[in-house]
Symmetry: C2
Subunit: 230 residues, 2 copies
DNA sequence: ACCTGAACACCGTTCAAGT
DNA sequence: ACCTGAACACCGTTCAAGT
């Protein structure tokens, strides 16, 4: 995010400062590998993101990757961290409702640009420290709304499950044709006694953005109700 | 669930009813394989649920499974279907709030008994037709609450994302130690400027049941607000 | 109708060796 | 400090063959 990075923390100045381009190259190749992995994930999906594929893309042996990442999981966490740290979840709004919306619409935006992201965060512990950034913004906003720490944390989990779940569903639907459109349901449901679901008359193309906005508004209204109850 | 199953639908009575134990055996082995796969999933997790492991458990060659399921995905869908069809999502309550609670507490119960279930439903299209059962109950309840079809469907997605997301998080946390407890956060967060999150004083053991109940209540309150707004 | 055995084209990762 | 090459212990699945 910040245009210039801190100049490689010049601790221990007593040590002779002999030029060491390796340090820089090492970081560069780490970044390069993260970029390649993310590109693979975005363009070909999670199944195509293999250590061998990443290695191939930078024309190197698979085992070379293990000089930069201790495992595939480590690489995945770095990818997730790279995506999340690049975002600003704090919109700087005075109103907690706007803060909440900004925060989770930003997260949703990341998930839509990188459809593999929810899987990275939900799947086995590839969640990096940076996931605490949206948590921080959310807890502050909900504190302003009048919730205590526990209820704020609970609501945070609700918001993040909702956001990631929707985005994952959308990504999956786009790929696999699982949207709740009429013909899909019709052929899968016929004669099972799902009277309401069967008759359901939804638009041919489900508006995921509107659906997400509705969910957010519903949660905001719920927060207001819970806060006034206290 | 029901003690006796319908007697193998006796359609086409003109066809000579010569004994065919194969039919029964075939179904039996399918059921057996589903049971074995579910047991593997429950006891050893999703990574241990491989075609080879299932085959080993019934002392057969891996390829024998393909006589009963066209692919691993097909088997996974059958496992999910088996778990979901055994549940009753309709509590028969007159009040839509109670119906909603019953429906998603039931789903949550399934997920806690079978920690691999959310993964099955969320992951690549292993979602069976039976997932429409909770959808049907939810749409009816939300109709009673005063929401139209579109908003009901949106709220259904919110509820299901929330329920599956929480359960998956809980299952993962229990295995990987990712709960939002004080020490976990302390060591991962230190000195990153997450002021609120850092100071957060949560109980050592997060009460997932209470957290889920809170989320449901918040959503119910949100539904009431959205319905009265109409 | 159901099962076997060998094989294919993959995985992530270890280990010993090179520079 | 970084990379290679061969190997290990796995995957899901195809194919041809058996009964």
């Amino acid at each position: 995010m910040s245009p210039r990075r801190p100049s490689k923390k010049p601790k221990k100045p007593n040590k002779p400062a002999q030029a060491r381009p390796q340090r820089t190259r090492r970081d560069l190749s780490r970044d390069k590998l993260i970029a390649v992995a993310l590109d693979l994930l975005d363009r070909k999906g999670p199944a195509a993101l293999t250590m061998r594929a990443v290695a191939d893309a930078v024309e190197v042996t698979p085992m070379a990757l293990y000089n930069h990442f201790s495992s595939k999981r480590d690489l995945l966490a770095a990818v997730a961290d790279h995506v999340i740290s690049a975002a600003e979840f704090d919109g700087g709004h005075a109103d907690w409702r706007e803060q909440l919306r900004h925060c989770f619409q930003t997260l949703r935006g990341l998930c839509l640009r990188h459809p593999g992201l929810p899987g990275l965060l939900e799947r086995e512990g590839a969640a990096p420290v940076s996931v605490f950034a949206p948590m921080e913004v959310t807890l502050r906003a909900l504190g302003d709304a009048g919730l205590d720490e526990i209820d704020s944390t609970r609501t945070y989990f609700l918001l993040i499950s909702f956001t990631l779940g929707q985005a994952a569903y959308q990504a999956r639907g786009a790929i696999e044709g699982l949207e709740p459109s009429k013909q899909i349901r019709a052929e899968r449901i016929a004669g099972r006694g799902y009277r309401v679901t069967e008759r359901l008359d939804l638009p041919a193309r489900w508006d995921f953005d509107a659906s997400f906005a509705f969910g957010l508004s519903l949660i905001v209204a719920g927060v207001e109700a819970m806060a006034s109850k206290r």
